[in-house]
Symmetry: C2
């Protein structure tokens, strides 16, 4: 009787684990688009961090295109795919959170130190959603013009506004991987493993 | 008969979930110390990112104390505790990964853009391991003097080398939370929820 219960319990466990595994194997989207409007992403600070370019206002005539620190994240499933293949999967979303410069000196030296969150941008690669965009990448901005608040939704920018520049200057597939050491390190690690 | 199997299967599932929950409730340490030597942390790029101070060499007479970008991470269990309480738990580890400046101009403007990983530092709060350190915080460095490679282990620095300065200048519990907007935002969110 006990053996029978254990066997049934084990079967239940295996089924549970299989269901969980199957669930995670399904391609999941970390964004919500309806009627062409992308809902402001949330929870991205717990995604995978990949790098922080900095374009401070004081090095850009007081008016940086994207002020000032840009914390960049990739969704966890796209990160897993990047680790595996070095490619950005269908449904990749990258989020760029803007942070003001709070201070230029600390006990560690002179430099740039983060202040407050002031803006949010995102880009999504999706053939399904953006069949006509070059590389299937579309770009969104949630920052208000004065960087005082974050909008709830965003329509995509015209191709010329962001996509064209990414296509011309980004190192890989419209993404500035040249400035994201976390992506490059994962790439190098995979390549090294393959040669061993 | 079927009902009975379903009931047993459900029980097995509940037991499994309870065991998993109990496991995650146990305080887990994300570091390994033996004979006073901290093993070089790994996997931290998938921990919780909290901020990037920047002290470039060219703003510090060619020789920043910590060159140059400092990507700072907290282990996931300590992050969960911070979200809940705004305190650093016994066993907190913060990792600071150093990244060189790779470029000072891009299509997004003038600024500082990340190059290569060049160094690794860590701090741990533990009454168990460091009963005599002020605040129970100990500091470790894995960077070599020329920042060309990362050491496999590290003994803790003397209290005067790091701890004293953190105690004097850090905003909360030896941590420079004033420069980590991710921590401050979680703090603000919790406080706001409490007043609602």
């Amino acid at each position: 009787m006990l053996l029978r219960q254990v066997r049934i319990a084990l079967t239940a466990f295996v089924v549970t684990v299989s269901l969980l595994a199957a669930g995670s194997a399904c391609a999941k989207e970390f964004f919500e688009i309806s009627d062409g409007e992308l809902k402001r992403p949330t929870g991205y600070r717990e995604w995978m961090y990949i790098g922080t370019p900095l374009t401070p206002n004081d090095m850009n005539n007081g008016k940086a295109a994207f002020p000032e620190f840009h914390n960049v994240y990739i969704d966890p499933e796209s990160w897993a795919e990047w680790v595996k293949s070095g490619e950005f999967r269908e449904g990749t979303i990258l989020v760029k959170e803007l942070v003001s410069v709070g201070s230029k000196a600390a006990v560690s030296g002179n430099g740039y130190f983060m202040g407050e969150f002031i803006g949010l941008e995102a880009t999504i690669k999706s053939k399904k959603h953006f069949p006509s965009e070059p590389g299937n990448w579309a770009y969104f901005g949630f920052s208000t013009p004065d960087y005082s608040s974050i909008k709830a939704t965003s329509t995509k920018f015209d191709t010329e506004t962001c996509n064209a520049c990414h296509q011309a200057a980004a190192a890989q597939d419209w993404v500035f991987t040249q400035y994201y050491p976390v992506l490059r390190a994962a790439d190098a690690e995979r390549k090294q493993e393959k040669t061993q």
